[in-house]
């Protein structure tokens, strides 16, 4: 049972959070202009790195705020969490 740092509520147990997968995948400006292939990539395709990963989390049983985090998918360690309006953290 990990502790996850909610940017507002502080450290809480992971069961309080909802996982949102890869971060910084924006909804296309004009889906109608996309090919089926491009649309499929938005809908179904997400990165799946072994190591550092920028992801979205939501403190669903707490303040219900979504936020971003850089987490290592091997160690599960959180490197940092940042609010949606913070600039994208650098992922190598």
């Amino acid at each position: 049972m990990q502790l996850i740092q909610c940017p507002w509520c502080g450290p809480r147990e992971e069961v309080e959070f909802h996982y949102g997968g890869q971060a910084h995948v924006a909804y296309p400006d004009n889906p109608a202009e996309l090919s089926d292939q491009e649309w499929a990539h938005f809908v179904f395709f997400r990165d799946n790195p072994k190591g550092r990963f920028a992801e979205r989390w939501c403190h669903s049983v707490g303040c219900r705020r979504w936020f971003n985090a850089i987490r290592d998918t091997v160690t599960y360690r959180f490197e940092c969490v940042y609010r949606l309006d913070d600039p994208k953290a650098v992922t190598s």
Binding site: V15, Y19, W39, A40, V43, R46, K50, T75
Partner: protein, 410 residues
């Protein structure tokens, strides 16, 4: 099931299993991933197609990934025609596998019960049973009293939180001993002259145009005529090297066993509603799978609260389990696709074949996918059973949605 002498029933492994060869410079076929799927593919390449200049590359120890960690459930009662076809093909192979491999894989067809706890569970169950029947798969709908006859320890009383309203039953479903299965395939492949190369991690690929000409590994470069990726949870690591995007996410999946117990549980019981699936393995240990952890993870471990929840559900459904003991818990990495169906077949590289996204279905599919992937590699044409699982279905929208259709996992 015949009564066992405690613990004495596991047959001995053979005196010789496989060589420990160094990689050659070049192979006709290189299979990346020495798990069940990779080893089965190697076996059928040799057996069905006479292709033996083959290397299976394993970054760790053979069958040390999900093959060594899964709960060995084998069934084919899937909803959609496409899924039913490949899993039933596998089940038919399971039924003859002991002879084929000349290895005591302990395939025990004790049947699987998929419990229904809500009216919608019942509708979904009947739908699946009727579909299975029309697809030639053995399936029945059972009322609670019939469930009690098959598995007396299931709590079918009406006063539990989610009463058991009935169950689907596939009598031909069963379990097998995972190491024995993997080692059986490995030994046959080795006998056929196929090189099983351990501690050999793929670190890159060499390509020429739309062909992959070879792999770079921790044990040197290896040229390859055709390459098949059978890396399950690590597939993305490989496809990223090739610049291919594959819609799988790797998640932790936990499992656990109890100590050895006298026979008490004659079949396999699965309940999605309360997330339990449990069987009693050959030596007498209760083997259970838990739910998939929500986040991506390559750590081969999950969070313990999932196991605690699992135990609560288990004791609800099987009150006699109260003082069984959790002996060992562990985690594997499942590669989950958007429609919970596998992704198999061609890639943008003409001589590279993909096999991933099996999620929790990988073990039960082992001989089936090995057979079909070998056929696909040998004929450079997707076998009919894997054709529906192509990568491009996500663009066309012709998914095989085992999620959406509320089919059962594991």
């Amino acid at each position: 099931m015949s009564p066992r002498t405690p613990g004495a029933d596991l047959p001995e492994h053979p005196d010789f299993l496989w060589r420990d060869p160094d990689p050659k410079r070049s192979y006709d076929v290189v299979i990346v991933g020495g798990g069940g799927h990779g080893l089965a593919t190697a076996h059928y390449l040799a057996k069905n197609h006479g292709i033996t200049n083959v290397a299976v590359l394993e970054k760790g120890w053979l069958a040390g990934g999900n093959m060594a960690r899964n709960t060995t459930l084998i069934r084919s009662n899937y909803l959609w025609d496409e899924s039913a076809a490949i899993y039933e093909h596998a089940l038919k192979l399971w039924e003859g596998l002991e002879e084929d491999l000349g290895y005591p894989i302990l395939f025990s067809q004790r049947g699987v019960l998929n419990l229904a706890h809500t009216l919608q569970d019942v509708r979904d169950s009947v739908r699946r049973v009727e579909a299975n029947k029309l697809n030639g798969i053995d399936a029945e709908w059972l009322e609670p009293d019939e469930i009690r006859e098959i598995c007396p320890i299931v709590n079918t009383s009406a006063d539990i939180r989610y009463p058991v309203l009935g169950a689907t039953y596939q009598p031909r479903a069963g379990i097998a001993k995972h190491d024995y299965v993997a080692w059986g395939f490995a030994r046959r492949a080795d006998e056929a002259g196929i090189d099983l190369i351990q501690d050999c991690e793929v670190t890159g690929f060499t390509t020429a145009g739309n062909r992959v000409t070879g792999v770079q590994t921790t044990r040197g470069d290896i040229a390859a005529g055709r390459i098949a990726l059978c890396a399950a949870g690590h597939t993305s690591v490989l496809t990223d090297m090739l610049g291919i995007r594959v819609p799988v996410q790797s998640h932790p999946l936990q499992a656990l066993v109890s100590e050895l117990l006298e026979p008490v549980h004659p079949t396999i019981v699965m309940s999605n509603a309360v997330h339990v699936y449990v069987s009693q393995a050959h030596k007498g240990e209760l083997v259970m799978g838990a739910g998939v952890d929500s986040y991506n993870g390559y750590g081969q471990r999950g969070a313990f609260h999932i196991i605690e929840r699992q135990m609560a559900a288990a004791v609800e459904l099987f009150p006699v389990f109260a003082r069984a003991h959790l002996l060992r818990s562990w985690g594997g990495i499942v590669d989950v696709s958007p429609d919970a169906s596998p992704i198999v077949g061609r890639t943008p590289y003409e001589n590279l074949y993909l096999n991933c996204g099996w999620g929790t279905g990988g073990f039960k599919a082992t001989p089936g996918i090995g057979w079909c992937l070998a056929d696909t590699i040998a004929n450079d044409e997707p076998h009919p059973h894997v054709a529906p699982f192509s990568l491009d279905r996500f663009a066309t929208g012709t998914l095989v949605d085992e999620h959406g259709a509320a089919a059962v996992a594991h």
